[in-house]
Amino acid sequence: MTPREILSSPEPSRKAELVIKLSEFEIPPTQDILLVGRKAPIGPEAARRMVDAVSPEQYEIISLDHEIFEAIVVKKSLLTLLPKDKLLPVVIEEGNRIADANMVIKAQVNISVQVSRTVDL
């Protein structure tokens, strides 16, 4: 291509494609459980302020003696379905598999209680 031909080429066309995803912002963003890593950008006090500000008295913050996690923020209503000593070890164990101390892990927990009872006829 000669220099003259280059100069005469048309400008490339530019297009923008806009993709918008709209979804509801959930308050608080914590949802059910947060596992707070020991070196995470937010610590237990920051988490407490966050949940207290947007959902007062709905969350409990429990300090942990754990290698990776410093604290766990848990929705109190979950604890009415399942006692702390049953729920937390499972969540911590699973969080431990995927997280490191720099992370804050959000966990969505659905608890369904199955009951089967027999009655005398």
């Binding site: 937010i42 237990p44 302020r49």
Partner: protein, 296 residues
């Protein structure tokens, strides 16, 4: 000897618990300091954040999430020994100084050690006399009975002249080691009073102190020296306790000085009478000791 208050700098830098770790770090860097007291909205001390805490925390964290909540505090009138003891016990580099409910400063281990170092004799590593007086006042304040043993090497000037000061220094160092080996850490305070004189403060009775003095004299006398010499000590002992009306530190310091002086005079008397141990204000003359000084 200065107190904790005397080592405090005038400026006190604090930070609120809801500030970021990044900000705490910037404040420390700006002022060239290694820690900040964390004070809440009500002016209450809630923690301390140090440069070490900052290094180990994400800069976005709240100070409340990075600080140490276990704050060991000390009174400004406390002695540097108390400060040192607290730091060692709790493995801390800093103590928050509080007067009542108000934070007035932070004292660092480096500063405390630098100051305490001035009261350690560089040759023998024993305390200097100031420490003995300070401990004496502490014990008297608590109402304890104290005894002072004053120990003086016999003919040391002659030994120095005959064998030289290098050997003289060696004798002093070894004597200090022997005496230290016979004292009980945390109970007795042994110091190099000056030159060839040593002193021991003990919260024991005069009789027990006399027993300790005899052990010390015997141990030094029994030491095998590299030079053809016998080294002996003359010991004087005095004892006492606080009496009614002695309320000020000055009174108690005067009492301590009086006891040291009596013990010192008793050791001079012991030397003159050629007895190893002499108790002040008594006419007991213990047994004579074997000839001392330079051999052959």
């Amino acid at each position: 000897m200065p107190t904790v208050e005397d080592l405090l700098s005038t400026a006190l830098y604090t930070i609120e618990p809801w500030a970021s770790v990044r900000r705490a770090g910037a404040v420390m860097e700006y002022h060239g300091i290694g820690s900040l007291a964390v004070i809440d909205e009500e002016g209450k001390l809630v923690g301390i954040i140090t440069s070490r805490d900052i290094k180990g925390s994400h800069p976005n964290r709240l100070v409340a999430d990075a600080m140490s909540r276990q704050v060991i505090t000390i009174n400004p009138s406390a002695s540097l020994w108390e400060a040192h003891h607290l730091m060692v016990t709790h493995n801390l580099e800093r103590l928050v100084v509080m007067e009542g409910q108000q934070v007035i400063g932070i004292i660092t281990g480096t500063k405390v050690m630098a100051e305490l170092g001035k009261y350690v004799d560089s040759l023998t590593n024993l305390h200097k006399a100031e420490i003995l007086y300070e401990r004496a006042v502490q014990l008297l304040t608590k109402g304890c009975e104290i005894s002072v043993i004053f120990l003086d090497l016999d003919d040391f000037g002659r030994l120095n002249k005959q064998y030289g000061h290098v050997h003289g220094d060696h004798i002093l160092v070894r004597t200090a080691q022997i005496l230290k080996g016979l004292t009980v850490e945390g109970r007795d305070t042994l110091c190099r009073y000056g030159g060839d004189e040593f002193a021991v403060l003990t919260p024991q009775s005069l009789a027990a102190a006399e027993g300790l003095a005899r052990e010390m004299v015997k141990a030094v006398q029994g030491e095998k020296w590299s030079l053809p010499i016998h080294i002996t000590l003359s010991a004087g002992i005095a004892g006492g306790r606080r009496v009614d009306g002695m309320d000020t530190v000055r009174d108690l310091k005067e009492l301590a000085e009086k006891l040291v002086n009596q013990a010192s005079l008793a050791s001079t008397t012991a030397k003159r009478l050629k007895v190893p141990v002499m108790v002040a204000n008594t006419d007991r003359l213990p047994e004579r000791r074997p000839p001392t000084g330079v051999e052959g």
